[in-house]
């Protein structure tokens, strides 16, 4: 059993709460986690979903890193990504490409389940269902949808490409970064 004390500090402010085997000062604020071994890892996993963690050294870091072993090199795994831009962003790519993205946002908004959709992102860094950054790539569209069967939020990524090989590469990158995410790949027609 690991006996090393691990301390993680993040640079925001917030309130103190008890999580798993440690204490966390989190929820949009300075986060301090104190714990040991696996119990501490459990506490950290809960905290990174709501704060920007700066990871300390030791087993805790390795345990966390292992779950992102195949993500983009240089990605700050575990850090929250930027706020969702709500699908509102400058034009991205060519006219047809941008129109396809905006049309897909419109389709999402017109859907019967739109009330159970959150965090729409157009051309932002890839994140997971907890809003954590998982890659440096920027899928054309991302959103979370409530999965009533699984009783959890599921993250979806949508890509538009002009050829099949680029599309496949984008899909592979997204799945590698976040194996739990849904992926929708589209080929644009001339």
């Amino acid at each position: 059993m690991t006996t090393t004390l691990k301390i993680i500090v993040t640079l925001q402010k917030g309130r103190l709460r008890r999580t798993g085997g440690g204490l966390a000062l989190a929820t949009g604020g300075t986060s301090i986690l104190v714990g040991a071994g696996v119990a501490a890892h459990g506490a950290a996993a809960g905290a990174v979903a709501t704060s920007d963690a700066v990871w300390a050294t030791g087993k805790l870091q390795r345990l966390h890193a292992s779950s992102f072993a195949s993500t983009d090199a240089g990605t700050s795994a575990g850090k929250l990504g930027p706020n969702p831009n709500k699908g509102k962003a400058s034009d991205h790519g060519g006219t047809n490409h941008n129109k396809a993205i905006d049309d897909r946002v419109g389709k999402l908004k017109a859907g019967e389940q739109y009330g159970e959709v959150r965090n729409i992102r157009k051309n932002q860094v890839q994140v997971d269902a907890n809003g954590k950054r998982v890659g440096n790539n920027r899928p054309d569209l991302q959103y979370d949808q409530w999965d009533g069967q699984a009783r959890k939020w599921k993250h979806y990524n949508v890509e538009y490409d002009n050829n099949a090989s680029n599309s496949a590469a984008h899909g592979e990158k997204i799945r590698t970064n976040d194996p739990n995410a849904g992926v929708e790949l589209n080929i644009l027609k001339d």
Binding site: G28, P82, N83, N85, G115, K152
Partner: protein
């Protein structure tokens, strides 16, 4: 700054609906109660100040979905405030609400400037169209976006400033609201005139 002085949170997303409370409650209910579990509860209580709201908006939206609707004591016309614990302020519900009922809505997002990715937005929706202004830090770059036609109360000179974070920020948004006779820095804005209405559903 309002977030530091009133809330222990680093961002605040609220929607302001120009309509009598009783109508908004019925209309929001007609949409919200058909989402998620479809088993919703209504809880009416007096909102006594902003201190009650920090815990409300930070509760995980993986466990429970909540929204709170009230008429501010400080406002002298039919204005209803909508706030939710959804991580994006339940944007989709307000979008559906606007499309269905065509009420005049202002939607804002304020940020603590010390957070990693500040986000400031002012959105105005009515029958004539939509106005959207935003400054946000997206990854390592600040980005500014404005769509729609400028409103009379806007100071468009701000949008030409070199520093993107100065084009629209908490101060400018609060100032725009004041020009619409809505002062969110007034203590009584966070006190309900009569009861506030809370809708909630447990997801797990």
């Amino acid at each position: 700054m309002i977030l530091n002085s009133r809330f222990s949170i680093d961002s605040l997303r609220i929607s302001l609906i120009n309509c009598p409370l009783s109508e908004v409650v019925a209309e929001i209910k007609s949409i919200a109660f058909n989402t998620f579990t479809k088993k919703w509860q209504q809880n009416d209580y007096q909102l006594k100040g902003s201190s009650e709201l920090s815990a409300f908006v930070t509760e995980s939206d993986s466990d429970i979905i909540k929204c709170l609707i009230w008429q501010p004591l400080s406002v002298n016309f039919d204005l209803v405030v909508f706030i939710s614990n959804m991580s994006d302020g339940w944007q989709s519900l307000i979008d559906i609400y606007f499309n269905k009922f065509k009420r005049e809505i202002i939607r804002i997002e304020l940020s603590d400037c010390m957070r990693s990715y500040p986000y400031y937005s002012f959105e105005y929706m009515n029958m004539s169209g939509e106005r959207f202004i935003r400054s946000m830090k997206d990854s390592d770059k600040w980005k500014f976006l404005e769509t729609g036609s400028a409103m009379q109360f806007e100071d468009t000179a701000n949008y030409k400033k070199r520093k993107i974070a100065d084009r629209i920020n908490n101060g400018i948004i609060i100032d725009y609201l004041k020009k619409k006779e809505i002062d969110i820095t007034n203590d009584n804005f966070w006190v309900s005139k009569g009861n506030a209405i809370e809708f909630s559903t447990k997801l797990n």
